[in-house]
Every structure is written in structure tokens, then in C-alpha cells.
């Protein structure tokens, strides 16, 4: 039963680890088990949540986007420049999201139409977009953002800021959208079996490009949230975020080979990556312990998960072919099929 459950819900193991983590922290310090803490960690992980949604979509199509950090920076800089040039806040954010969409579509076109491998294509655009950031900003920080813009991440109703509510809605929409709509399912179909998806009538190229485009919009949103949170825009805005986004999604059970994963899982992964920070504070450790702990936990989860999955697969395959292995093969079966089956079973045992 447990095996079947884990096979179906990869995100369950991360949820378990997070609950465990909070239980331990609760034992150390009772005040930690409060709604305030949860809200605080949630507020700190907004950017990673948004990026993880995008990464889940792209990875579902068996793609990978390492340029999201640069898209974040580009969108943040565009929004900042427009706002300081006197544009209204919604218009500036809108343009930033469009910039993100365009960047994402370029990635998608490279991968889908020009058949460049995803990591190489987005590696190139990672440098390209980051260079545009420096060109646009002229190499200096963008400061003096309007107060109204910074207020978007200040706590509002029920202790959540405007962006926090927006991200919550996005998470819900994306989770159910990917699971229960035709478009969402088609992304997983493309990632699982590209040719098969084409044969059942899915517009493979368009779906892939759309996934990258949406990922670009989400990365742009992450950039806007980043700018609003810290109140100025450095040239390095978003650097290194791509690895954190991919790590969150992988931690939450999204497969890099495409075809599996849920937004809920990726979000749990992102929440986990952020909550490591709070643990450090509680354990009175310096901030520089963050990466080594994140890396160690990531590896332990990945290797355990890989081992469990291998064992589960072997067990399921064994059950599937058991009837062909144990009783002597029925007499009326043709020799050819027997040969075929024994081939299959020997593979299944492996």
C-alpha cells in the first residue's frame, strides 16, 4: 500500500520531510510552531514558488530552462526603468511580463523549432539576457522605486501581501490547471512521449513553446516580486535562481525526464529550500551553512528516492510478469511467443 502510494504521489516524501523538520523544530522551541512562522517562510519563498511553477511546466515537457535568473533580472530592470520614467505601476509590470513572455518564447522556439537541446539553448540565452540587463541599466543599480510599488509586498489583509495572495492563487490555478485541463495534460504527454503525443493529435511544438513562454512570464513575475521586496534592482538580480528553482522542483518529485510531477510537489520543494534558512537561525548557525545543508538534504532525498523508485519498479514488474515465470508455460502457446516472453522477463528481472 505504502509503496503504491509513494509511486503515485512523489510529493508525499517531501511533505513528510517538511513536517518532520517542523516537528523537530517545535520540540526545540515551542514558539516556532506558530502561524507567524509559516507566513514568514511563505513570504520569503514567493519568488521560488513562482519559479518552481514555471520549472515544473518546462520540465514536464522534458525541457529545462537555465535562463530564468536572467529573465528575472531583465524583467525587473525593465519594470524599474519604466516606473522611474513615470509610467504607472500596472503598466510597467505589464511590460515586464511581456518582456518575460518574449524571452520565454525565444527559448521555446530555439528548443522546439530549431531542435537545439534545451540546456544548450537556454545556456546561450542566459548570457544573452544577462547582457541585455547590463545594457538597459547602463551598469548601475536602479534605485528610488515608487513607494506604491514597494507596498505590494508589505503585509496586508490576513497578514499576506498583495503578491502573496497573487502567488497563492497562481499556485492553486497552476496545480489544478496542470492536472485537470487538456492543455496541462498535453504538456505531460509531450514530455512523456513526444511522438506518441503527436500521433494522438497534440500540437507538440506549440505546447512546448507555450510551456517556455509561460515559464518566461512567471520568471518575469518573480523578477517584479524581487524588485518590490528589496526596493532596488541590482544588475545581478536573479543570478543563480535557476539552480534553486530546478532543485526545488526536483526535490518535489518533478522528473527531469519529463512526464511526471505536480505543482504542489514543486511548491513544497520551494518551501523546504526556504525553510532551511529559518532552521539555521533557530539552531544559531551562521548563514553560510545554508548551501551545504540544502545540498546534503537534496542529495539524501534524491538518492533515497531513486533507490525507492528502483525497488518499486522492480517489484511492480515482477508482479506483472510473475505468471509467466513460475508455472510451466502452457502447451498451446507458440514457441515464438514463449521466446519473446522469456526475453521480456529476463529484462524485467534485471
Amino acid at each position: 500500500m505504502i509503496i503504491r502510494f509513494l509511486q503515485r504521489h512523489r510529493e508525499a516524501s517531501v511533505a513528510l520531510i517538511i513536517v518532520l523538520l517542523f516537528a523537530i523544530l517545535g520540540l526545540v522551541d515551542r514558539s516556532y510552531l506558530s502561524l507567524d512562522t509559516v507566513l514568514l517562510v511563505y513570504g520569503n519563498s514567493l519568488i521560488l514558488f513562482v519559479l518552481a511553477i514555471g520549472a515544473t511546466m518546462v520540465m514536464a515537457t522534458h525541457g529545462l530552462d537555465v535562463s530564468v535568473g536572467s529573465i528575472m533580472g531583465l524583467a525587473a530592470v525593465s519594470a524599474g526603468l519604466l516606473m522611474n520614467a513615470g509610467w504607472s505601476i500596472p503598466a510597467a509590470i505589464g511590460v515586464a511580463l511581456l518582456v518575460g513572455l518574449l524571452c520565454g518564447l525565444i527559448n521555446g522556439a530555439l528548443v522546439s523549432w530549431l531542435k537545439v537541446s534545451a540546456i544548450v539553448a537556454t545556456l546561450g540565452t542566459l548570457g544573452l539576457y544577462r547582457g541585455l540587463v547590463h545594457l538597459l541599466s547602463g551598469g548601475s543599480w536602479i534605485e528610488d522605486l515608487p513607494e506604491g510599488f514597494k507596498a505590494l509586498t508589505k503585509a496586508g489583509s490576513l497578514g499576506l501581501s498583495v503578491f502573496a495572495w497573487l502567488v497563492l492563487v497562481l499556485l492553486i490555478v497552476a496545480h489544478f490547471g496542470l492536472r485537470y485541463t487538456a492543455f496541462g495534460r498535453s504538456m505531460f504527454a509531450v514530455g512523456d512521449n513526444r511522438d506518441g503525443a503527436r500521433l494522438i493529435g497534440i500540437r507538440v511544438d506549440e505546447v512546448q513553446i507555450a510551456a517556455y513562454g509561460l515559464n518566461g512570464v512567471l520568471a518575469a513575475l518573480a523578477g517584479v516580486i524581487f524588485a518590490s521586496q528589496i526596493g532596488f534592482i541590482p544588475n545581478t538580480a536573479g543570478t543563480g535562481m535557476e539552480m534553486r528553482a530546478i532543485a526545488s522542483s526536483v526535490l518535489g518529485g518533478v522528473s527531469l525526464l519529463g512526464g511526471t510531477g505536480t505543482v504542489l510537489g514543486a511548491a513544497l520543494g520551494a518551501y523546504f529550500m526556504t525553510s532551511i534558512d529559518s532552521i539555521l537561525v533557530l539552531l544559531r548557525l551562521q548563514a553560510y551553512w545554508n548551501d551545504i545543508i540544502a545540498g546534503a538534504i537534496l542529495l539524501v532525498v534524491l538518492i533515497t528516492d531513486g533507490k525507492i523508485r528502483e525497488a518499486v519498479d522492480r517489484l511492480l514488474r515482477y508482479q506483472k510478469y510473475r505468471k509467466f515465470i513460475e508455472p510451466p508455460a502452457a502447451g498451446h502457446q507458440a514457441d515464438a511467443t514463449k521466446a519473446g516472453l522469456s526475453l521480456k522477463t529476463s529484462e524485467a528481472r534485471k
Partner: protein, 333 residues
């Protein structure tokens, strides 16, 4: 159009591009053509080339190593910590090379044990090694920008030594290029590397020592990354934990631009070496004609995209022409 087979190779295109690039920058700014300029400019980027050589092996096996940037920082910090602790600088250098090699072995073992995609595993180990470097430098009380400095002058001078008129890092790069060419193209190990990349299952059935080959490939990458970290420490006269942070993407760029398939199974060391020089000189040249270093990195990103897209397009065109020829022959019969 009949071309000599050697001219059809990707390496020849790269070599031509490299010459054209140097001449073009030389035409804009003659300073660029001075031999000392051409030789000493390499010190800024040659560590990327050295790492890319070993990374080529890993990518040909169908794997990838995203942790090499962290290994660079880790080896530099190891050197710094040991030096501060009073260890002889040469012993410390050997120790940091050993740490880098161990990091590579750790990668291979983790990939082998978990059967998880190397991309994911090395992403995790990248956090781990980078985190270890941060912790070590934090414990030693080194600040982020200063790092650990005041090394033995003999070690700091190493990066400025000349061997046969070449700066030592460049000479090292050339020697390593030849060594890796021999290793990949002339030994049984090299053939195993290609076989594993072409078809891991067939390789396993053929009795290829898959695990051992992978361990050596990843260990060499760790070793070269550590060596690059030491070269940087000597060049800058200080050791910082974030040394390799910007080296990972250019290293992968050099390998891919050099003609190695990111899916594994094909590629050459010479291509990687030429591509590393091509990208490196592009950066230096652009800076010399007055383009800021950030914009020049954008241009090398653009170059990667264009070159790879063009290669992909010519491949698609070739397949299309081939199909047409076959179809026409069939129709004629």
C-alpha cells in the same frame, strides 16, 4: 563542391573562426595583435579551457557535471585554509587537488548508486561542495571579497612564470590538451567513453567497465576543476569560495561549441580547446575595443545560440536532402 575531408570537420571551422576573430580585432585595435597581448590575455580565461577539457569526457559519456564551479572554489579555499593553518604551500596544493579528485569520485559514486540523472545529482553536489567551501571560508573568518591571501610568494609568482616563452597557465593548457587528446582518442579508456555515451546498455552488455570509466571521467573533471582553482588562486594572489561561480556556464559553452553532443557519444578534445580559445578571445577582444565585459558575455551567449542553431539547421537540411534523394531514386525505379 569537393572539399578535402579535413576541411569538412567542425574543428577546421572553429580554427578558421578563431583566426578570423583575431584578425578582425587586430584590424580594429592593432594592440590586440602583439604577441605578448595574445599570450597573456589567455590568463584571464584559460582556467575555463582546462576544466572544459575534462568536462568533454564527462559529456561524451552522456553525463554532465554542474558541480565543477563549486569544486574550483572548494579547492582554492582548501589551499587557503591549510596555508593559514601553517601547512607548506606545495603540500596544501597537492591536498586541494586531492579534494577535487575526491569530489569527482563522489559525483560518480552518487550517480552510480542512485541511477538518477547526472544533471540532478551534480546540481545537488554543486550545492554541497559550494556550501562546504562557504563553511570552510566562514570558519576561517575570511570575508567574501577579500578571501584568504598572503600566500607564499613562490606560489603567487607561479601564474606569471614563463615556460618556453609561454605563460605557465597557457603552457599547462597546451600540454593538457595533448594529454587529453591522447587519452580520449588513443586509448581503450577513450573508446569506452564514446561507447558508454553512444549506448550505455550495449556498453554494459559488451563487458565495458562502465562504473570504473565513469569514476575516472568525473574524477578527472574534479581534478581539473581543482587545478583551475589553484591557477586562479595563484593568478589573483588570494583564495575565495566563489571563484568558480562564473566558470560553469562558459565551460559548458566551450564543450558544446567545440562540437560535443550534449546527449553524449560524440565530440573531440581539439574542438573543445579551440572553442575555449574562441570564446575567451572574443571576451578579451570585445573588452579591448571598448565593449563592457557584461555585454561581451551577452555576445558570447548569442554566439553559442547562433552556432548551435546553425549546426542544427544544417543537420535538418542534410537529412531533408538525403530523404529527397532517396525518394527520387525510389520514384525513378
Amino acid at each position: 563542391m569537393k572539399l578535402h575531408p579535413a576541411l569538412k570537420r567542425w574543428e577546421s571551422v572553429l580554427a578558421l573562426l578563431l583566426v578570423a576573430e583575431i584578425l578582425l580585432f587586430g584590424a580594429i585595435n592593432p594592440v590586440f595583435l602583439q604577441p605578448s597581448m595574445l599570450l597573456y590575455a589567455t590568463s584571464d580565461f584559460i582556467h575555463i579551457g582546462i576544466t572544459a577539457l575534462a568536462l568533454t569526457l564527462v559529456i561524451i559519456t552522456g553525463g554532465i557535471d554542474l558541480s565543477l564551479g563549486s569544486v574550483m572554489g572548494l579547492s582554492a579555499i582548501t589551499l587557503g585554509i591549510l596555508w593559514v593553518g601553517g601547512v607548506d604551500i606545495w603540500v596544501a596544493a597537492v591536498a586541494s587537488l586531492a579534494v577535487g579528485t575526491l569530489a569527482g569520485v563522489f559525483n560518480a559514486v552518487a550517480i552510480h548508486l542512485s541511477k538518477v540523472n547526472p544533471l540532478v545529482i551534480t546540481l545537488g553536489t554543486g550545492f554541497l561542495f559550494g556550501g562546504a567551501a562557504l563553511v570552510l571560508s566562514g570558519l576561517a573568518g575570511a570575508t567574501g571579497y577579500e578571501g584568504i591571501s598572503n600566500f607564499d610568494p613562490a606560489f603567487v609568482n607561479l601564474a606569471n612564470l614563463e615556460v618556453l616563452g609561454l605563460p605557465l597557465p597557457l603552457a599547462l593548457f597546451l600540454v593538457l590538451t595533448v594529454a587529453f587528446m591522447a587519452l580520449l582518442h588513443r586509448t581503450r579508456f577513450g573508446r569506452y567513453v564514446y561507447l558508454i555515451g553512444q549506448n550505455p546498455r550495449a556498453a554494459a552488455y559488451a563487458g565495458t567497465p562502465v562504473f570504473r570509466t565513469l569514476v575516472v571521467a568525473y574524477a578527472l573533471t574534479g581534478l581539473m576543476a581543482a587545478l583551475s582553482g589553484l591557477i586562479l588562486a595563484s593568478y589573483f594572489g588570494s583564495a575565495r569560495s566563489d571563484f568558480g561561480a562564473t566558470a560553469l556556464m562558459p565551460a559548458i559553452t566551450a564543450v558544446v561549441l567545440g562540437g560535443t553532443s550534449i546527449y553524449g557519444g560524440s565530440g573531440t578534445i581539439l574542438g573543445t580547446a579551440l572553442a575555449a580559445l574562441l570564446v575567451g578571445y572574443l571576451q578579451t577582444g570585445l573588452q579591448l575595443v571598448g565593449v563592457s565585459s557584461h555585454v561581451s558575455s551577452a555576445l558570447s551567449g548569442g554566439l553559442l545560440v547562433i552556432v548551435v542553431a546553425l549546426r542544427s539547421l544544417t543537420e535538418m537540411g542534410r537529412v531533408w536532402v538525403q530523404h529527397r534523394r532517396v525518394l527520387r531514386n525510389v520514384a525513378a525505379e
